[in-house]
């Protein structure tokens, strides 16, 4: 095992973790405000498609990114309409949102890009600010969205949630909406904002696949990564830092397995075992912590003024 292998592995880890980081941070915001958003899988899917469709039509990946963000905000707003304004059941609403968004994306895909050859766009460029370091610089050979995820989104999202008054409001309406309301916080508005911010991040996470990695849209492009994010949020106990750590850990294993597969002797372990790991680890962790799982206080509960 050479150093090149290690640098290459770390680079792949950061790249694979990027969409999970966006999704996990987005889902953390939703859940901390008291709304389990199972629309995440569909929101990432719609973000991936909208990003690609707009980038392909206009020729501008930045406009594509903006479209993914807008679609994510809208998806968050629909979730808010259902679960905050109407007070509908959160998990059924989320599943409905996912079914609807995947359906509408594939519908639009057929309508706009019917059959024919695979349409491609020029993927976003890779940045290489530390190329002069030689082999270690390979770790930093990443897409702009990866830099933004780790250097901007994660620290900012953490700071806002833990240190700003807006973050305090999100946590307050998620833990005890009655008390938050009594303290003069607008519970509905805060939950809408958290859902829309979360949705925007999910949309961008989805667009990372089409705009950066692949440069094209394929069916089943998200392939359950939204559910992985739901698992990572719980794995991280609703904390941004721990959720991101979980995303990195999973991506490291994922990238490692991918590389070891080609070596003789490692091909025996089914790939699927590793892919199932984040789900199983979360269920195991929940089982081990038993009654001590600290759900956000208002988890799954609609809020009505009585």
């Amino acid at each position: 095992m050479t150093f090149t292998f290690v640098f290459d592995l770390l680079a792949a880890t950061l790249r694979n973790a990027t969409p999970l980081v966006y999704g996990t941070v987005g889902e953390t915001y939703s859940e901390r405000s008291g709304v389990l958003n199972l629309g995440i899988e569909g929101t990432m899917y719609a973000g991936a498609f909208a990003g690609f469709a707009v980038a392909f039509t206009t020729g501008s990946p930045l406009l594509g990114l903006l479209a993914a963000l807008v679609v994510g905000v809208l998806a968050g707003a629909v979730m808010g309409l259902l679960t905050v304004t109407l007070g509908a059941n959160q998990h059924v609403s989320g599943i409905g949102l996912t079914i609807g968004l995947i359906g509408i994306s594939e519908f639009a895909n057929r309508l706009l890009f019917q059959g024919g050859e695979l349409r491609r766009i020029e993927p976003m460029p890779l940045l290489e600010p530390l190329a002069f370091l030689g082999a270690p610089g390979e770790i930093f050979h990443q897409y702009g969205l990866t830099y933004i995820a780790f250097l901007v989104v994660v620290p900012l999202a953490w700071w806002v949630l833990q240190r700003s008054s807006f973050g305090l409001e999100i946590r307050a309406v998620g833990d005890n909406p009655e008390a938050a309301d009594a303290a003069g916080i607008n519970v509905g508005r805060t939950r809408y904002l958290a859902l829309m911010i979360g949705g925007a991040l999910m949309g961008i996470g989805g667009a990372f696949f089409t705009l950066a990695v692949l440069g094209s849209f394929t069916l089943d492009i998200i392939a359950g990564r939204g559910w992985v994010c739901v698992a990572l949020v719980i794995f991280g106990r609703w904390r941004i830092g721990r959720g991101v750590l979980g995303a990195l850990l999973f991506s490291l294993l994922f990238s490692l397995q991918f590389r070891l597969r080609i070596l003789p002797g490692f091909g025996e372990l089914p790939f699927e075992v590793l892919l199932a790991l984040p789900y199983l680890v979360v269920i195991l962790a929940l089982a081990l912590s038993g009654r001590n799982v600290a759900y956000p206080g208002a988890y799954l509960k609609p809020y009505r003024r009585s």
Partner: protein, 389 residues
């Protein structure tokens, strides 16, 4: 019994003609859905009215397509009933998809092995194996819920992708077709194939089993003490516990029965349609089951109607694709929008009815419109440490 007669879903007894009765609400949801989906249909360059005719009416106008409607309804009759049974108990089983896949694996496994046996032995063995496998897949989240109060929504959901990975692992590994090399299991034995109900059609024994399961579930829920207990737990875990009902046991049984019914759906698809285990066995039948159960107001007659309606829609979506050039994915769009409008309207009704009435903040878990974390509430009440929220 009379105390519980107003079903948890319909709330206080209400005339079927009331604009807030469940059937009226579902019809309204369907109408709103059609208005909302008119946009995509217009974008596809078709007339929405013509499209709805193609969607809903054309499938039932010919014998062949009418039978296809029943074929499409078969798996979602099972999953709809599975989801409705669990939801009625206040157990949010989102894992019917995974339970279906495990049932399919077990069904295919038995179906491949039973080569020498007569059908009268082979078929029940397959169904039993599928039911057991589905129930086994449902066991861990159910135990976590009743033992530790761990919310089952996420645990049942997360086991769905795991089940799909198990299927793919088998198909890319030990069960890969030895003849063709495709990621498909070997074909099941001829004795294990569900017979066709009508010669030359795709309608198979699975449809009859599905109808029998729905009828049996209706009988148990509506007419037996076990069903009464299940509904009581769904309505109010606290009240049920106070009345001496074993809340944990009832939840556990509801979860396992739900998993077993979803598991039979997998057997039915393997033995009636595919004749082998394939990766594309289920295009999300487990999730469609949530749509069916919600649309059917968690009642078994409702589930049957909703499954037939969505079967109609599925066949209609592909005929609309051929006749009008509307992408068939509109079927999935309609399903999603329908689910959202239905839960939205149900929530609206609940708020309207409870406006000004203090209901003590207790979650009415049997009502799909209600949210809440019934698991935690139940777990606490089990120990009696903390009183009602």
């Amino acid at each position: 019994m009379a105390l519980f007669r107003p079903a948890s879903w319909t709330g206080p007894r209400r005339s079927i003609l009331s604009p807030w009765s469940s059937p009226a609400l579902v019809v309204l949801a369907v109408l709103i859905t059609f208005v909302l989906t008119a946009g995509p249909i217009l974008l596809a360059g078709a007339n929405p009215i013509a499209a709805y005719v193609e969607f809903l009416v054309v499938p039932v106008t010919s014998g062949f397509t009418a039978i296809e409607v029943l074929v499409s309804a078969t798996p979602i009759l099972f999953t709809g009933a599975a989801v409705a049974i669990a939801f009625r108990a206040g157990y949010w089983n989102i894992g019917a998809e995974g339970q279906l896949l495990l049932g399919a694996i077990a069904g295919a496994g038995v179906g491949i092995l039973v080569g020498g046996l007569p059908a009268i032995v082979a078929l029940p063995a397959m169904v039993a194996a599928g039911a057991l496998a589905g129930a086994a897949w449902a066991l861990v989240p159910a135990l976590l819920r009743v033992r530790f109060g761990i919310d089952e929504v996420v645990t049942t959901l997360l086991l769905n992708p795991v089940a799909l990975l198990v299927v793919n692992g088998l198909l890319h590994g030990p069960w890969r077709d030895p003849v063709t090399g495709f990621p498909e299991s070997p074909r099941i034995a001829a004795a294990a194939e569900f017979p066709a109900l009508l010669p030359g059609s795709r309608l198979h024994l699975g449809f009859l089993i599905a109808m029998a399961v729905v009828a049996a579930a209706w009988f148990v829920l509506a007419r037996t003490p076990a069903g009464l207990r299940l509904r009581a737990v769904g309505l109010s875990p606290h009240g049920a516990r106070f009345a001496g009902i074993d809340v944990s046991g009832t939840l556990l049984r509801a979860a396992l029965v739900s998993g077993a019914v979803a598991g039979i759906a997998g057997v039915s698809e393997v033995a009636g349609i595919q004749y082998r285990l394939t990766g594309g066995l289920s295009p999300g039948y487990g999730y469609t089951g949530i749509v069916v159960a919600t649309l059917g107001a968690l009642s078994m007659p409702g589930v049957a109607l909703a499954a037939l309606f969505l079967g109609d829609l599925t066949v209609g979506a592909s005929s609309a694709a051929r006749a009008l050039g509307i992408p068939s994915q509109l079927g999935a769009v309609t399903q999603g929008v329908l689910l959202l409008t239905t839960v939205g309207l149900l929530a609206l009704r609940r708020n309207r009815l409870t406006r000004g009435i203090e209901i003590g903040g207790e979650t009415v878990a049997g009502d799909v419109a209600a949210g809440g974390l019934p698991s935690a509430a139940t777990a606490i009440s089990e120990e009696g440490e903390v009183e009602q929220e």
